[in-house]
Symmetry: C2
Subunit: 424 residues, 2 copies
């Protein structure tokens, strides 16, 4: 594609918001006729300022035949105030309904959408122990819905809607409204909303990613090896692993796209077979703090050393959530040009960052990245090497300077990514 001019001018028009909403509803969460939709702001950061976009999403969901749209907003200012001032004993004891409401929707097979507009540094300076206490309590309660989400038991998706607070972190030298306009235009470009027919553009793009994933699965690599500045690692892959990408298929047999945008193919590492050192190439938001300059050292799959130039305590708290938080649940490859990359924007949001760079996730593996994994228990999956945890957090390590190789059972290697492009 040609040179893209991002972010001159005004906030998106109602027509642009409506087109983006339609894309999110039809291709992303893919609401089925007669299905209820939950937009879960507590889990996902649907700030009050996302309301104009969320209203378009709700209208699009009813257009698609959705039966009921339930929206829970998150007041970001109150979230921060709560973490600052809530009683210590209340942190690990949230109201039961508040901690658990997504479970009801997950068990009913409702569609679930995250609309994220959160300030990536919302909780900057708040004690990480306080944030961890509440987050862990809610995470434990949401194990039911998290497991169903990760199995694609129903259609779900994650999309973003810029807010002034988020945009001002990305473009700190701009006035909030100007920053918001710039970030909106970057998001709409990354999501191909400016294409003549965004829905058709996505269907075609998703088909290409699905094809790439199928080819990788067929090659039956036992490991990936990555090498670059500060990075020298072998990431063993789980037995019977399957590559995913280009959207997913829910238990009802119908497609949906868990992320918009998506540019990755991904699979399950083996939880015991990761060795070496990985250096981050992008900042990562962990529970309202930005972690920068991280390096992880692995031995037999376990993170034995984790350092960061900024936000190290937030990283350590996350890794301390449970045993699985110190092991990998996903490895993803991202290559070549994409609208997301064209924006040149550092979004400070995993949805975009993970689509411009190869990454791993610490924490739980997707059952669908193991053959017939959707119906296998977590202990069966673990025997294949697929990791389990309450957390799943993407950490970006890819760059044009990091090459990636596929390793076969006999030790031979094929180049996969060279200078940031697919080798084959």
């Amino acid at each position: 594609m040609g040179v893209v001019t991002i972010g001159e001018g005004a906030l998106p028009t109602e027509a642009q918001l409506a087109a983006y909403a339609r894309l999110v509803v039809e291709v992303g969460v893919a609401v089925r006729p007669g299905q209820r939709l939950l937009i879960d702001g507590i889990s996902g950061g649907a700030a009050l300022e996302c309301a104009p976009f969320i209203r378009h999403v709700a209208a699009a969901a009813y257009d698609a035949g959705g039966s009921d749209v339930v929206v829970v907003y998150d007041d970001q200012a109150l979230r921060r105030l709560g973490f600052e001032r809530m009683a210590d004993r209340s942190l690990p004891e949230p109201a039961s309904w508040w901690a658990g409401y997504p479970n009801e929707h997950a068990q009913a097979g409702d569609a679930m959408l995250t609309v994220d507009g959160s300030d990536p540094r919302l909780l900057h300076g708040v004690a990480a122990t306080r944030v961890a206490a509440r987050t862990a309590a809610r995470g434990a309660r949401l194990r039911v819905s998290q497991d169903l989400v990760m199995r694609d038991a129903f259609n779900w998706s994650y999309a973003c809607a810029p807010t002034p607070a988020w945009a001002s972190r990305v473009f700190p030298d701009d006035e909030p409204e100007g920053a918001t306009a710039r970030l909106w235009h970057a998001v709409l470009h990354a999501c191909r909303v400016n294409a003549a027919d965004p829905v058709a553009a996505w269907r075609s793009h998703l088909a290409q990613l699905t094809d790439r994933a199928a080819q990788l699965t067929a090659r039956r690599f036992v490991a990936l090896r990555a090498e670059g500045p500060g990075t020298a690692i072998e990431i063993g892959l789980a037995d019977g692993h399957v590559w995913g990408g280009g959207g997913a298929v829910a238990a009802d047999g119908l497609p949906f796209a868990p992320n918009l945008p998506t540019e990755e193919v991904f699979t399950a590492p083996h939880r015991l077979r990761v060795h070496g050192r990985l250096r981050g190439t992008a900042p990562v938001e962990i529970r309202g703090e930005i972690v920068e300059g991280w390096t992880l050292v692995f031995r037999d799959g376990l993170i034995v050393e984790a350092t960061a130039t900024d936000g190290q305590e937030s990283l350590e708290r996350l890794l301390a959530t449970d045993d699985g938080a110190r092991r990998l649940g996903e490895v993803a490859l991202v290559a070549g040009a994409s609208p997301t990359r064209e924006t040149g924007v550092c979004f400070q949001n995993a949805l975009f960052e993970e689509n411009v760079a190869c990454h791993v996730a610490v924490g739980a593996a997707y059952p669908t990245t193991i053959a017939d994994g959707r119906d296998r228990s977590r202990s069966e999956l673990e025997r294949s090497g697929a990791n389990d945890s309450l957390v799943h957090l993407d950490l970006m390590w890819g760059s044009p300077e990091v090459d990636v190789f596929g390793v076969r059972a006999d030790g031979s290697e094929d180049p996969l990514l060279v200078a940031g492009e697919w080798a084959t």
Copy 2:
């Protein structure tokens, strides 16, 4: 008091919002140290636009020692969209957590606050059957918390925060921001926030109302009689009735003020002993519709005829909720000058309307308006004549043209209100 100039100028300052929030927290809901606070927007209409005030309330609640503040916002545009577009079968089947979350807080003895900024005509033109289907389903589910609220089992309160949508109904000729500024100034005046020490002003005012209520209880009237244009009614009072007013005392023995402002004294009518005709003197909002020009005709306590010049279907739907919705649960007397009356504003919101005019409520009686009622079962209360229902809706019939008399067991009468002022 002197002439009051309402609503010139700007939106309230942060200092004014903070003072109002402190009043609501310390005198209204009176958050106890260590207590959790629920601000329930689904039941009460905490529009997204109320957020700036709600954040002050949350800060004041933590200042008062509150342990956790849980806020559920209501997106008014989505509420209307849902009623317009939701599937018919979904209307009476809301998500279980959504319908029931206040019950958990009520059973835990949390403080509960309504912050209402809703558009009084939000649902204008939506089929009343659709609104009734969902409202009845949620009401049935919330019977637990409603009963605990009406018994003052814990401290709760209801306050308002103007929004552009509400203000534009009240001042339709003004620009939204100007209308919002005017309505805010009226609300702050009605709530005595401009007093030198609003908390002290309220404590003194509440004590006067409590005194008035005690005097009325001591007089042991068996009925009230009201007479004026279109109104000729005798409202029998429940056996062992007690007059309330000037705030309440929760089961923990500590005071709170269920409404700010409050200018009323009130008690329980006898559910079987109301005879005659009552003509409304103010419009009333019923489920997002304004009902105007209503007249009710009673026989043996039952409403046998209900007419309205506008919104009659909404009124009829409400009265059809259950058997108790066609009988009275409250009669309240309001007299004399008050800051609310001084504003001269028709707020189109019951919290203010009920404090400028005598009113009745159709539906449930407050157990605390029967001697020792807090601990009596609903069937015991009913034997005293106290009504029960899923609903409780205030209907204003007072004016300077309607005089009110207290009727003794021997048939003799004392004038109570003459030309809108207390006779004694």
